[in-house]
Amino acid sequence: MDTQNIKQISDVVVRFSGDSGDGMQLVGTLFSDAAAVEGNGISTFPDFPSEIRAPQGTVAGVSGFQVHLGAAKMTTPGDGCDTLVAMNPAALKANYKALKPDSTIILDADTLTEKEFRKAGFSTDDPIAELGLTEYNIISPAITSLTREALSDLGLDIKSATKCKNMFALGLCFYLYNKPLEHTFDYIERKFAKKNPAIAQANVRALKAGYNFGANTHAFANTYNIKAAVLEPGTYRMINGNQATAWGFIAASQKSGHPLFCGSYPITPATVILEELAKRRDLGVVTVQAEDEIAGICTSIGAAFAGSFAVTTTSGPGLSLKSEAMGLAVMTELPLVVVDVQRGGPSTGLPTKTEQSDLLQALFGRNGEAPMVVIAASTPSDCFHYAFWAGKIALERMTPVILLTDGFIANGSEPWHIPQMSDYPVIKPPVVKNIEGDYFCYDRDPEAYARTWAIPGTPDLEHRIGGLEKDRRKGSVSHDPHNHHTMTELRAEKVARVADMIPRQGVVGAPEGDLLVVGWGGTRGHLQGAVDRMRAEGKRVSHCHFNWIDPLPRGVEEIFSKFRQIVVCELNMGQFAGYLRMNFPQFDYKQYNKVQGLPFTVDELVSHFNTLI
């Protein structure tokens, strides 16, 4: 390390951006991982277009990855960024609005050409002036040519050498934030060393070249250091929401002794769950990549009938396609978890962007009276916890469960204190193996109302179920009017009684005050960030965040009644607010809604909340 000034800072937001093929998601992840291993709190926000390789150099093709690292646990990936890495003018144009005052822009000088300006839609040849960025701290090394030069003696073709420019940019950022390169060397070694040693060597070389460029040219007036966060002792890893969801299901499978089956169809942004599960044949996980969304859920329903812990994964459009089959799972009272990783809708909408607009579909989007348990995870790592609990509820209560996550927490990642499975509860589904006398498959537990589960292959318990209404006792087909009414009530009551196994609703902050900020699912970090900031300013604001949607937990009215105002904040037009009005009509709910395919920012939340108190 040279003698340059090192400034201590509490947190920083870095955004990597470039063409979709530039490897920005990779370097963002590697930067986050290295900082996490060094002990920083981390929250990430990958933000990319739905096209795989949109035309190079255009704003439409820009892929971004934002990471917030700090000396404490980071609850959000940050509103604006302190450092923007822009691999071309289009990346600058796509991201400049996210720049904080005084922030640093690292821009590849090799791309400052007339051709690139035109592709990015600049009308002049001075993008900095055109965007009004002259006051910012702009560093523009010739990243492409410096990378090629650093690799010139490796005998790579020019395309392969150029591809390593992302590593050069990463090295430069490691220098800027005083992070060691070793973690990334390890990654490169694991990823490429066996398959392609030449590429491994080139990536290492480019990474070092970027770092050394920073050191040797005194590119920055200062470099920065962010201390490690004070975290509970234990083993940690980085995890994203989709991976955590997949692993939570494997955990539930293991705790229940029922093999995990996932029938699913690829759909953004849920696909990674299927991919993660497909890797785990070694843990006995069976995945079927079905021919369509309907087959995804139907194979899973078949597997549930046959005794597996069955899940299916999708996003909004897929949830629509699965509606009829969800009703079948309701009717047959089989354990099934349906994951909906919400994205911008309606229709194809904004496939790679986040939203919370499937809530009412999850609650009510089926024909007939078809109640399902609905749960929402709220951070990348707690997807594990809620996936596990979705499994526990489905299996023990013999009911389909919808687990809602969203594109933001599914793709975002954070450090996770790895739990020990011995700390998790056992899962005991009501499996029957033998029975005195005749077997009636719709006989219920008197408390939980769960029916019993006789798995095909069990002698003497042969029975038949299906989508037709069943006699409440014998399980045979019944068209009796009163039986149908009773069965409808029983199915609803079974879901309602899940409230017995979930925790009471909690509130963060004082139990009374001027404003209660209410949210659900993946907005937890931003809402908490806003409330924390206002409380630090002495405002009487608290945060009440919901993960258990249907049934709602106990204790909600008690919390709501202690605040002068309630504001329900959602990334939709007010679906949860409407649901609360339906359940607790005695309160007045204000709303704060955003439907831009983007998460909230803490700034916008705080400024809105300040208008309410």
Partner: protein, 352 residues
Amino acid sequence: MAHNCIYSAADFKSDQQVKWCPGCGDHAVLSSMTAALAKISSEDCVPREKFTVVSGIGCSSRFPYYVKSYGFHGIHGRAAAIATGVKVANPDLNVWVATGDGDSLAIGGNHFIHAVRRNVDLTMMLFNNEIYGLTKGQYSPTTKLGKITKTSPFGTIEKPFKPGELAIGAGGTFFARSIDAEVALTTELLVSAARHRGMAVVEALVNCVIFNDKTHNNFAGDKAIRAENTILLKHGEPMIFGANRDKGLVFDGEQLRVVKIGESRGDGSQSIVTEQDILIHDAHTTNPMVHFLLAGMSWPDYPVALGIIRQVEAPSYDSEVHRQVAEQMAGTKIADIDDLLNSGATWTVAKS
């Protein structure tokens, strides 16, 4: 209960009242199926609890309620998908699918071709009555061109599917055809289908007495008509048919032709057809060309093919899934979820 593996057809009849119309062809297939189940369970020692019958929606899809085994009555079109899940999750089960021409060739066409393509070890009874019965008489994807139904008051303008062409075109490994009235033949075909490791499709040509009565009668009306207008294919035997066993099929390299033994070939040559000229049925060849032509033969130009048209060996999807599971489990360092959570890049925060 200890299994002595001795079952009769009656052991597979459930206590549910069968509610198909009197005269419906499904009754006969139910008899064939319970007889087939009794035969398989007894001869192969498969206890009753290992059988699972899955269906979709339609008249034939009420089947599971009438069979005393595990049963699942699904939703319209999805029987093949549900059954795929059952079989892959629990490959020990002997899984049957009861479905119809509307269920599997219209709303469930996608699941049908993909279950066939994957070669999931299922035994599918495809009831083809060329009509929607349960919704009371609308045309189906197998209804004859021009047929007047409630939704085609001026005659259909859609060329029908032939289920066998679809199954063979999708890479199917087993396709057979029977007629409801041929109870013994249906039983025999269902037994062979169930023993086939992979997806076995048995098309049962059934009569809908209410909405499409006698639709198959031109070739299936009675024993005498069937003798002249159908051909029962047997692997390794010449393709001869007719009450007097005097007609046969020859293959001219491009298409099948009907010839009469002892008469001119009808191909312009002077040669007389002998039994040696008649094509020998090879159900086991992987080449699907002749199978495709056989499955496509229709009255009046050809006899309608019955029996096993195609039966070839290929790994089943479910066995391949579990082969991979076994291989991966044997070769992994990750034995449980704790191992998984701690795999890859982790770091430790020590007590401060």
